[in-house]
């Protein structure tokens, strides 16, 4: 989850000086490695080794016949990749469409979550009666287990028995036919709504903490100079929040792009094409057809994409902040 800082503490904090514990000879040579050992072993077992195996898997023909004895699966070379990016066949076409849906989902969810989080953080910045109660309420969607919240939305989005259509048709009279929300073209809108509901409190939380670090007297000085609320927000708040925003946007993007829970719980196994997010697509491609080699190739492509985006983002934002 959250790496809500501009840099890792290892990079920002003062380098451990050769003082205190680190100054003791002998023991301290080995001790740090002993302390790290459990974490390293587990990281290797769950993250590093599986990733390497995943890369290897993407180069073999790993179908259900080889699950029990997967090291004997025949070599496939780049064949899995060729199929995944051949946009004229069904597999490649499916992947491409799913990628497009995911980009749209991710960017829209990120944008709305950020806007709502910012709007609420600014509104709650000056103290007022009931502020902490409101803050607590806003955090509840984030605190709920994801599946509990998504199941509730699933219920609300049912066509005939759900609250959403009841509100739209009966309460507000906005439309007379009851739209489908979980199948067909509206699926993406449903996904975005549910994802925003779960995610915007995190943006709110982070931005609120960022706002608290801005000294009050800066605003007072600006007010004396005649700057209105909107100018204060643009010229003081936004620039001051820049380091927070840089990380927040990246984290939100990585989360939404890798979101699995929302489509899985919202749609079950019958995901509509309009809501076919990429992690769910890979999951289905692998576990419904038991074609693990192909699924692994798609996973590696996804990883490469996320690494490129992250790298580009860090370079661009890093350069700008240095210039500024």
């Amino acid at each position: 989850m959250a790496v809500v800082t501009d840099e890792a503490p290892a990079a920002t904090a003062t380098k451990p000086s050769r003082r205190g514990l680190d100054r003791r000879p002998g023991l301290s040579r080995k001790l740090p490695y002993l302390l790290l050992a459990p974490a390293v072993v587990l990281e290797l077992l769950i993250h590093i080794v599986p990733m390497l195996v995943g890369i290897w898997m993407s180069f073999v023909k790993l179908t259900k016949f080889f699950i029990a004895n997967w090291s004997a699966a025949p070599w496939a070379g780049f064949n899995n990749y060729r199929v995944a990016v051949d946009f004229h066949n069904a597999v490649g076409e499916g992947l491409l469409k799913s990628f497009g849906v995911t980009v749209a989902f991710s960017l829209i969810t990120l944008a709305i979550s950020w806007i709502l989080g910012m709007a609420a953080a600014v509104a709650l910045q000056p103290p007022f009666k009931g502020r902490s109660a409101v803050r607590t309420l806003f955090l509840v969607p984030y605190a709920l287990p994801a599946y509990a919240g998504i199941l509730t939305w699933n219920f609300m989005l049912q066509r005939d028995t759900g609250a959403v259509n009841h509100i739209l048709v009966e309460n507000l009279g906005l439309t007379s036919d009851r739209p489908f929300w979980l199948i067909g073209g509206n699926a993406l809108a449903s996904l975005i709504t549910v994802a925003v509901w779960k995610l915007w409190p995190f943006a709110f939380l982070t931005l609120m903490a960022g706002l608290q670090s801005i000294p009050r007297d800066v605003y007072e000085a600006a007010a004396v100079d005649g700057a209105g609320s909107i100018r204060q927000w643009r010229n003081i708040t936004l620039p001051a929040l820049r380091p927070v925003n840089l990380v927040l946007v990246l984290v939100l993007f990585l989360w939404t792009f890798s979101d699995f829970n929302t489509p899985y719980v919202l749609f079950g196994n019958a995901q509509p094409p309009a809501g076919d997010l990429i992690t769910f697509h890979i999951y289905n491609a692998s576990f419904l057809t038991w074609n693990f080699g192909s699924g692994a190739a798609m996973s590696v492509l996804l990883l490469i994409f996320l690494m490129i985006v992250t790298g580009a983002y860090l370079i661009v934002t890093g350069r700008r902040s240095r210039r500024a």
């Binding site: 990281e43 769950i46 955090l139 509730t152 028995t161 990883l303």
Partner: protein, 279 residues
């Protein structure tokens, strides 16, 4: 400036809109859990035709919810305890010692956070199958497999956050502990840990929430005997009926432990999650 009419109007609008957005689903969850089945099968109503607690009774029979509850509790608690303990040791090393490989470790640990779980899922599944075939330790379909998996999910974040907390504790305190005759581990236990208690609480809550809410690995790594709540709750849909009132009741009950934990320790959690963002 901030108390102008304009700002108050803005605040009222924002709080109303967002309040409704947050509250309506919570309201639907709570009221639907108090409705008889006929209510949730017909057109939606804002209020139950009559209030009943039956869904909270029946939900334990429709699916083996108690077993899922026990599974989720064991998996989440064990994963949390192990994760926090391991993170404390690692964060102590990162914060207090300078050693070869330190930055490689922190970079690697942090970057694993970035990768989607689906990436590890297939290989991990096969590795677990292989471990079972070669040394006979059953990991797929047991709690142990989930515990090992979950404790690493929260580990990178916990290490990162605790290291930040430990860094903020003056090294002079370590030295004082050394002078008083403590070893390095004594300094950790007697000085650093007590001072970093809010951070420890925060990562513990985070670890527990992660494990309690995990869906992806639970859907692949579990069978009927070790199924957790995140997958078990899907089973209220049968061929003939979807027991929405019981689903909402169950969703409410499984949410209570994490929401209470979160709200009680909210301050620590918020401070922890945002530590570093507000330097």
């Amino acid at each position: 400036m901030r108390d102008t009419k304009g700002f108050k109007a803005y605040r009222a609008v924002v709080l109303t809109v967002l309040g409704l957005f947050v509250l309506v689903p919570l309201y639907v969850m709570v009221t639907s859990s108090l409705k008889p089945l006929s209510d949730v099968q017909g057109a939606f109503t804002w209020w139950p035709s009559h209030i009943t607690l039956d869904p909270f009774v029946d939900m334990w029979k429709t699916v083996p919810l108690a077993r899922y509850f026990v599974n989720s509790t064991i998996v989440s608690v064990v994963a949390t305890v192990c994760s926090v303990a391991i993170a404390i040791l690692a964060a102590f090393a990162v914060s207090r010692f300078r050693f070869r490989g330190r930055s490689v470790f922190t970079t690697t640990v942090l970057s694993t956070q970035m990768f989607p779980g689906v990436l590890f899922l297939l290989p991990l599944f096969l590795i677990f199958v292989n471990i079972n075939n070669s040394i006979g330790v059953q990991l797929v379909g047991t709690r142990l497999g989930l515990i090992i998996t979950y404790l690493t999910f929260s580990l990178p974040f916990s290490i990162w956050m605790l290291a930040g907390y430990f860094d903020s504790i003056p090294r002079e305190l370590d030295e004082a502990a050394l002078v008083d005759g403590c070893g390095p581990m004594g300094a950790l236990a007697r000085v650093v840990l007590p001072a970093a208690r809010p951070g420890v609480i925060a990562v513990a809550i985070y670890s527990f929430m992660t494990a309690w809410g995990e869906v992806l690995f639970a859907s692949v790594m579990t069978t009927e005997s070790n199924r957790t709540l995140s997958v078990g709750l899907r089973q209220y849909s049968t061929q003939t009926n979807v027991y929405w009132n019981q689903i909402m009741a169950a969703a409410l009950v499984v949410s209570i432990p994490v929401v209470i934990g979160f709200l009680l320790a909210q301050r620590h959690f918020v401070a922890g999650v945002t530590a570093g963002a507000v330097k």
